[in-house]
Amino acid sequence: MTEQVGAQPVSAHKDPVVIAFANEVLDGFSDVCRSLRYATFLTDDGFEVASIAGDEKQNRRVASMASSMQALGDAVAKDLRIGGAEYIIIAAETGYVIQMRVPEHAMVLAAHFDAAETVGKALSVARLAASNMRTLVQEKAA
């Protein structure tokens, strides 16, 4: 289980500052990566913090499903005693979904790329977005 930031009184999806951070990071994310179709930050328990593209209903659904996926990934990794799940990739015919935790926070990034992107590039930009989010939230807490 990841730790919450300090004694954060408001959870991320209800905190306007965190939501603004998430939007900022996602905007930068789509600027550097044209093949990004969709991205969302969600709380570990599946509430949408912020998203780019997608409609409201879809965003909520993606957030719930990504949260389940993340937890299942962690459960498998734990059961095999291989440490925490670093990222999860779903490769489909016309694109793929990458998701990973914002380091040290109860928050997850889920991003959908079209098949034009290489997995390596997609992974590295997703990592960057997650780590930028971490930095912003950390600075706020400090």
Partner: protein
Amino acid sequence: MAEHVILFAGPMGAGKTTAIESLSEIETIRTEATNTDRETADKDTTTVALDYGEITVGDEDKVRLYGVPGQRRFNFMWTILKERAVGLVLLVNNDAADPIEELDAFLEEFGELHEKGGIVVCVTRSDVAATPYLDKYAERIREVMPGRMIPVFTADARNGDQMRTALMSLIANIEMTAMIADSQERAA
């Protein structure tokens, strides 16, 4: 007899994860996440995918116990796990805002499991909230699923013995349903 898959469903904080933990003979698989919805249930974590445990019944029958997330936004997991199940332990916490309404909602979602094997209802946390009494649950069950045999128990999800009693009554029901189906098939 085939291996049974039993589903544990019910509202957030009813005790599904706790019940499977109390019953399981293996180390359970959990998918708990930090709970940010403290208004609905004031606890640290909530299930976001599933719980899994196993218990042996009789000499060798293995029963697989699956818990679902209680929050409706995870209802895609309900659909996935419902497919495999032959029986339902429906847990309702008596201290919910409107437990009878919860009973109703979950019977609507999972009521079909009665036809697949059976349902048992466990009312938890009645030490926290004394009412509604069991007869209110029984009454509502009669209204929404008339003519079905659905036992109602009070049980503490933390108590393995109490949960086992409820589970055994469900399994007896499932086996009966299977036997009846079997004999009908043979008669046809």
